[in-house]
């Protein structure tokens, strides 16, 4: 992984997000618009992203929406994270050997979901509704960029719910391994929407305050937003922040919304990822879990981890009490945190003070610890019973 870009509620770049995790300062705050605590990307951060993009070659691709609108937000987040990840190489790396994988769950729905009921009632004409509804394709955030670069390499927009971001890395590793691409730019963006806030709310999956992954009495998640991009390449000699040694994705075939209670699907994904990486489980130093803070998710993941590691589990962390759950972007944002932690030789802590659930039977990491970490296992789970696991290795950039 030779390039990385992040937009999060903490700001631009991986550093502010990582510092929030180190300090244990949650980015979750009351959200009047959605009525539940969320992790929003502040306007000042979006303003900075707009400025950076305006001064870059990517301006035509990402600055074509009205400033300050819901339609502009995912474009700014996507464009800024991509700009950071490309670094000095710029868009020139996009040739026929460069793949592009983007992940999202809801895309630009925030820009048209409010108008849809008015259109359905006949209060606005189809033509008037089309001015916002034109953004409905989930390719929207990258449409301008695809036009700019002509995008001659392989391209995918993955929409496999909350596992999509991690799946993007699984697929990138596969493309590089089978020679479908020589480098792959992987990204994910998610913004807060009424659809997801009310949707997760009606399943009673939202926490009324800051989420408490792996805690006793945990009640649910905090929705959040963000974007992350990474550049992956097969060139072993290039300085790199880290490597994706292996990845796998599986289906539960159990329930549309609940993970398998015994964690069968995520266990299988972890086993396959380790096997693909040719790394036995004792060589894993840290697990960065999905750890949403719902009773079902954390229990399912813990069961799978016990099955995989037995009594010798490495420390397990979820950082969602800090940054919330950015759905389709969560896997990629959290993988960025993992690479940064390994680079610094640190294991991040759970970042909440609530009593841990002893029935889970896994060694949850409470606080930040200075310790060399060579390999980390990253997990994600999503609606539809989709699971993804990644085996990540520390890079040589210090």
């Amino acid at each position: 992984m030779t390039g990385i870009g992040v937009v999060s509620p903490a700001g631009l770049g991986i550093a502010p997000l990582y510092e929030s995790c180190v300090k244990g300062e949650t980015l979750i705050a009351p959200d009047k618009a959605l009525g539940v605590p969320t992790g929003r990307v502040p306007m000042a951060v979006l303003d900075r992203a707009r400025q950076d993009l305006a001064a870059s070659e990517l301006a035509p691709a990402f600055l074509d929406a009205t400033p300050g609108t819901e339609a502009e937000k995912p474009l700014l987040m996507t464009g800024s994270a991509l700009l950071q990840a490309l670094g000095t190489q710029g868009a020139s790396i996009f040739d026929k050997d460069t793949g592009l994988i983007f992940a999202t769950t809801t895309g630009h729905i925030a820009s048209w979901e409010k108008d849809l009921p008015r259109y359905a009632r006949g209060d606005v004409s189809p033509e008037a509704f089309a001015s916002s509804f034109k953004d409905y394709p989930l390719t929207r955030s990258l449409a301008g960029f695809v036009r700019q670069t002509d995008c001659r390499g392989p391209f995918q927009v993955l929409t496999s719910a909350c596992a999509a971001g991690a799946q993007a890395l699984v697929l990138a590793e596969l493309w590089l391994r089978v020679g479908k691409a020589k480098r792959v730019v992987v990204g994910a963006t998610e913004t807060l929407t009424n659809l997801t806030a009310k949707g997760f709310g009606c399943f009673s999956l939202l926490a009324p305050d800051v989420a408490r992954p792996f805690a006793e009495g945990r009640v649910g998640i905090n929705l959040s937003e963000g974007s992350a991009f990474m550049v992956l390449s097969r060139e072993d000699s290039a300085p790199h922040y880290g490597m994706v040694l292996g990845g796998a994705t599986t289906l539960d075939a159990f329930d549309m919304t609940r993970p398998h209670p015994e964690g069968r699907g995520i266990h299988q994904a972890m086993t396959q990822a380790l096997s693909g990486a040719n790394i036995p489980s004792p060589l894993i130093d840290w697990v960065h879990a999905h750890g949403t803070g719902t009773p079902a998710n954390d229990s399912s993941e813990a069961t799978a981890l016990r099955m995989l590691f037995g009594e010798a589990s490495p420390p397990v962390t979820s950082t969602k009490a800090i940054h919330g759950h950015a759905l389709g972007a969560s896997g990629l944002l959290e993988t960025a945190l993992v690479f940064e932690a390994m680079r610094r030789g640190e294991i991040l802590g759970i970042a909440h003070a609530a009593a841990l659930d002893p029935s889970l039977g896994i060694p949850v990491q409470r606080r930040l610890e200075k310790r060399p970490v060579r390999r980390t296992l990253k997990t994600t789970l999503g609606f539809g019973g989709v699971n993804a696991a990644l085996v990540l290795e520390r890079g040589d950039v210090t």
């Binding site: 509804f133 993955l158 929409t159 596969l174 479908k180 659809l195 075939a253 919304t257």
Partner: protein
């Protein structure tokens, strides 16, 4: 390393009108129309699988290509919320683009690798390409590539307003069973075709090349192959899109 060959071993297609009998079926009580039509397409593709190999379906890969996603369910969820202040769990879980993948996984007991891809006009082509990558990369020996789209009648005027060159959006589903040579040999399935290459020119050449398409939808590449390709043919399918972009799929007789 010699690259694996990816073979098309079975195909199935279904129309929305085929699903009428499923509406009273208890197994489909919580199914949207895209879930139903995709299920039928997969059932038809799997019909050729010898009974002694049916147990292997659980390990298949499953890739669903869909562009609009669950537009009708999304409309229903948002309108129920706006008009009655009610958020209904079933509508939310079915509103996500990934819902059909989850339903098919449950319906057929598939626990192999699963993806949903939504690359607008190329959702079908990209589902096919992704299934091909999974097999070539050894993630599975066989994979179902499913293209599905069901256009909401209520949303059609808005879709047409966004895509003025489309006569009317189309609906349907197609499913292709792809497999490695080893899988074909083991199951005795005779290959229909080999997927030789798949290329996409994603950037339209301009308004002058846009022409009206009847019944176009983003995931229809798979349905076109499932309905029109005959074993023994070699064919280069050039699929033009409403904005002048296009894909070229080369299928050859193994």
């Amino acid at each position: 390393m010699k690259p694996l060959r990816c073979l098309i071993l079975a195909k199935g297609a279904a129309s929305v009108s085929d699903t009428a009998h499923l509406e009273s079926d208890a197994d489909f009580r919580k199914a949207s129309v895209p879930m139903m039509v995709a299920t039928l397409a997969v059932q038809r593709a799997l019909a050729v699988l010898p009974e002694r190999h049916e147990g292997e379906v659980k390990d298949f890969g499953l890739v669903v290509g869909v562009d609009h996603g669950e537009l009708e369910i999304t409309r229903e969820f948002l309108c129920t919320l706006a008009d009655r202040g009610m958020a209904r769990p079933f509508l939310f879980q079915s509103a996500l683009h990934n819902a059909t993948l989850g339903f098919l996984s449950l319906r057929f007991g598939i626990v192999g690798p699963g993806f949903t891809t939504s690359t607008h006009y190329f959702a079908g082509e990209d589902a096919l390409s992704l299934a091909d990558s999974l097999i070539r990369g050894g993630a599975c020996q066989a994979c179902l590539a499913v293209g599905v789209e069901v256009t909401s009648e209520a949303m059609t005027p808005a879709v047409v307003a966004v895509r003025p060159v489309v006569d009317r959006p189309g609906s349907g589903a197609g499913a292709l069973l792809l497999g490695s040579e080893a899988f074909a040999a083991r199951t005795g399935l005779a290959p229909i075709a080999e997927l030789r290459s798949l290329a996409a020119e994603r950037v339209g050449k301009g308004l002058e090349e846009i022409r009206a398409f009847g019944g176009f939808y983003g995931a229809d590449a798979i349905e076109k192959i499932a309905r029109t390709f005959s074993p023994g043919q070699s064919e280069v399918l050039s699929l033009e899109k409403p904005d002048g972009s296009r894909s070229v799929i080369e299928l050859v007789t193994p």
